[in-house]
Amino acid sequence: MTPLNLFLLLSALLFSIGLAGALTRRNAILVLIGIELMLNAANINLIAFWRFGPNPEALTGVMFAIFSISVAAAEAAVGLAIILAVYRHNKTTNLNQIDTLKG
């Protein structure tokens, strides 16, 4: 088993946990956390493919990861702000009860 496979396994595990969390949790914040987990799984993949890829001298993977993390941070900030706003409006963070965008 090459180290790359181990990394990929880890990331797959992480992604699955995140996905499961995002799909099953009713609390919006926990869904957000699940999403963050999935993002980080992707980051691990990026780093891993860079490290074991053909051209590890160029810092492309790291760059990608850093971008991704900063985007995730921004996204988390916006997401939390939205959740706060939604909470203020609906007095709940239970996603099952927030269905005003229904078609």
């Binding site: 996905l19 995002a22 799909l23 099953t24 869904v31 996603l95 099952n96 927030i98 269905d99 005003t100 965008l101 229904k102 078609g103």
Partner: protein
């Protein structure tokens, strides 16, 4: 060219200007209006005299002078107008201004009580201007224009008492009937213009009445084998016939007596109606063009003669059975105009014109006398209600008698000479004696009906007071008219008596003046004319005697008494008093035809032309209906079905949009799985 030829237009322009000024004046400025009209007429009279002297003192070629000017332009050509001074114009000018002036003065008295005094003088002055314009015109177009304005003023004056429906109707009738003739004149004018390229009568060799143009016109023939000159001449004669009340366009003239009596005297006796004869005299070179080419007369002149003869007889016959003093004179005028036509057709310009001039004076005198009688009888016009006026109105009686004797043609009075000349030329006419015999019978009838009228009006005792059913009169009994009316009568009586001596066979001054010669006294000429003169005198005396026999021997006393002819021959009398029922005939034919044509035309409009349009639009509307049916039931239904399924699909799809975030995420997850699976296995295939 002398001053007067240059400024001849002033003769016509002065009355015109006076009329224009009067038209904008106030209703109550009566004295000023009458003064302006009379003053302008007096000035015109002076100018006319100057023109007359000018012609009198010139000889040969110089007797005809003209002054032309350019008026307007079409294409490369200019239309030129002008005025003309020749013996014909000069004589007519003097006659019209003189008679006109007297009638103007007379009107001051006659119309004194009318509230529209000012308007009357306005129209009268306009009439005089237009009439003088007809006389001086050196262009058929200018003549026609003035001619039409004369017709207009005649229309306005006949309808002067517009509140009387009969006057308004008579005015309309006069205008329309004369216009029928004028259309002939209009076409003749267009034709003449097209053929000769000018409407100037005289233009130093290029005019349409000068040798160049006339020879071409006389050479070419057109429809019915007429020469061009004759065909055009006949069309022009249509205009004359309308204006001069010739059969069959005479019907307006008796009705025109609805106008005030001075108007009847001036327009419908002395001047306007004679304008028709004047027009023919003016275009006589055209009418007689071709005579030198072996023929003795032209078709146009024959037409003129025969129409004149028929009219002369017709008018005289009808005048016998009239009751209205003015209608008798009107039919008499018609008849006399017929004589002028005979004279013109058989004897030439001078014969016709001489009678025109003498007739103008004595007929104006008669009409003014009749006006004086009507005035004296408080508006009564029916001779059955008159009688005995000789004592009540001695001055009028005296003057009227002069006029009557002149009209009858009693020897030595002016009418005798002129009528005799016409009969003479008709007698020597080489085509037919018909016009002569007709003229002779007419002369007899003239003497007869005038005697009848004189006896009815002046003899015996008055029947005026006796009538009580016929209108109401404030004061009974007739009275003599004021000086302002009788003096013109007396003045007119003079030429009515003596004017004939200017044209006797012995000294034919008038005839030679018109032809530009000098007259010589020759008693030899009397010899040729003498037998005929005896005959015509006899005829006149027979007429007078017959009249006296029927009416004078036993005077009429009773107002309701039948006429002597009526009691003897009622059918004949009614036929005559109904003027041969020509009016009724026209009403039943021409008028009805026009009215039917009008309603047919309106019907065509409504049902045929309009019908086609309506049919087309109905077809379009039908199409639209079909279209809208197809729309609602075919197209719309299909659309509705389509729309229904689309909206159903929409509502189905919108159910996916549940608003549950995690369900969306599940879709994403499943989609991801499918995508990965496809990449994994599908990618290799």
């Amino acid at each position: 060219m002398s001053w007067i030829v240059h400024n001849l237009w002033l003769v016509a322009a002065l009355p015109f200007a006076a009329g224009g000024v009067i038209s904008v004046m106030k209703q109550r400025q009566r004295t000023l209006a009458a003064g302006l009209a009379v003053g302008s007429m007096a000035l015109s009279f002076v100018l006319a005299l100057m023109a007359f002297v000018q012609v009198l003192t010139s000889h040969g070629e110089a007797t005809r002078q003209f002054s032309n000017f350019a008026w307007f332009q079409f294409g490369a050509e200019w239309v030129r107008l002008g005025w003309l001074l020749d013996p014909l114009t000069a004589v007519m000018l003097v006659m019209v201004t003189f008679v006109g002036l007297l009638i103007f003065i007379y009107s001051i008295g006659y119309m004194a009580e009318d509230e529209n005094f000012k308007r009357f003088f306005c129209f009268l002055a306009l009439f005089a201007g237009a009439m003088l314009g007809v006389l001086i015109a050196n262009n058929l177009l200018l003549l026609f224009m003035c001619w039409e304005i004369v017709g207009l003023t005649s229309y306005l004056l006949i309808g002067f008492w517009y509140e009387k429906p009969s006057a308004a109707a008579a005015a309309k009738k006069a205008f329309i009937v004369t216009r029928i003739g004028d259309l002939g004149l209009f076409l003749g004018m267009a034709w003449l213009y097209a053929q000769t390229g000018t409407l100037l009568f005289y233009d130093a060799g290029r005019g349409c009445l000068e040798a160049n143009a006339l020879t071409t016109l006389a050479m070419h023939t057109t429809v019915f084998g007429l020469t061009l000159s004759s065909a055009i001449g006949i069309l022009i004669f249509c205009g004359s016939a309308g204006k001069s009340g010739q059969v069959p366009l005479h019907v307006w003239l008796p009705d025109a007596m609805e106008g005030p009596t001075p108007v009847s005297a001036l327009i419908h006796a002395a001047t306007m109606v004679a304008a028709g004869v004047f027009l023919l005299a003016r275009v006589y070179p055209l009418l007689s063009a071709g005579v030198t080419h072996g023929m003795t007369t032209t078709v146009a002149l024959q037409v003129v003669t025969w129409v004149g003869a028929i009219t002369a007889l017709f008018g005289a016959l009808v005048a016998v059975a009239q009751w209205d003093i003015k209608r008798i004179l009107a039919y008499s005028t018609m008849s006399q105009l017929g004589y002028m036509m005979i004279g013109l057709g058989t004897g030439g310009v001078s014969v016709g014109m001489f009678h025109l001039i003498t007739h103008a004076f004595f007929k104006a005198l008669l009409f003014l006398g009749a006006g004086s009688v009507i005035h004296g009888c408080h508006g009564e016009q029916d001779i059955r209600f008159m009688g005995g006026l000789r004592k009540a109105m001695p001055v009028t009686f005296a003057a009227y008698s002069c006029g009557m004797l002149a009209l009858c043609g009693v020897p030595l009075f002016s009418g005798f000479w002129s009528k005799d000349e016409i009969l003479h030329s008709a007698f020597v006419w080489n085509l037919s004696r018909g016009p002569f015999y007709i003229g002779a019978i007419g002369a007899l009838l003239t003497a007869f009906y005038m005697t009848r009228q004189m006896i009815y009006v002046y003899a015996g005792t008055t029947r005026l007071a006796a009538e009580s059913t016929h209108g109401e009169h404030g004061h009974s009994g007739a009275h003599e008219s004021p000086k302002v009316m009788t003096v013109p009568l007396l003045i007119l009586a003079v030429p009515a008596v003596v004017l004939g001596f200017f044209g006797t066979p012995v000294w034919p001054w008038f005839q030679s003046f018109l032809e530009g010669d000098t007259a010589n006294v020759s008693f030899g000429a009397l010899g040729g004319a003498f037998p005929l003169m005896i005959v015509s005198s006899l005829i006149v005396f027979v007429g007078l005697g017959l009249g006296w026999l029927l009416y004078g021997r036993k005077l009429i006393v009773d107002v309701g008494a039948l006429d002597r002819i009526e009691s003897a021959q009622p059918g004949l009398f009614h036929l005559l008093s109904g003027a041969f029922y020509i009016n009724e005939l026209y009403a039943a034919t021409v008028v009805r035809f026009t009215l039917v044509a009008a309603s047919v035309s309106a019907w065509l409009d409504r049902w045929i032309f309009g019908g086609v349009v309506r049919a087309i639009s109905t077809i379009f509307v039908l199409f639209a209906k079909v279209d809208s049916f197809a729309d609602t039931h075919v197209v719309n239904r299909g659309f509705d079905a389509g729309c229904g399924s689309v909206s159903y699909g929409g509502s189905f799809l919108s159910k996916l949009q549940a608003g549950k975030v995690q369900r969306y995420l599940k879709f994403v997850g499943v989609a991801l799985f499918v995508a990965v699976a496809l990449l994994f296995w599908g990618g290799k295939a």
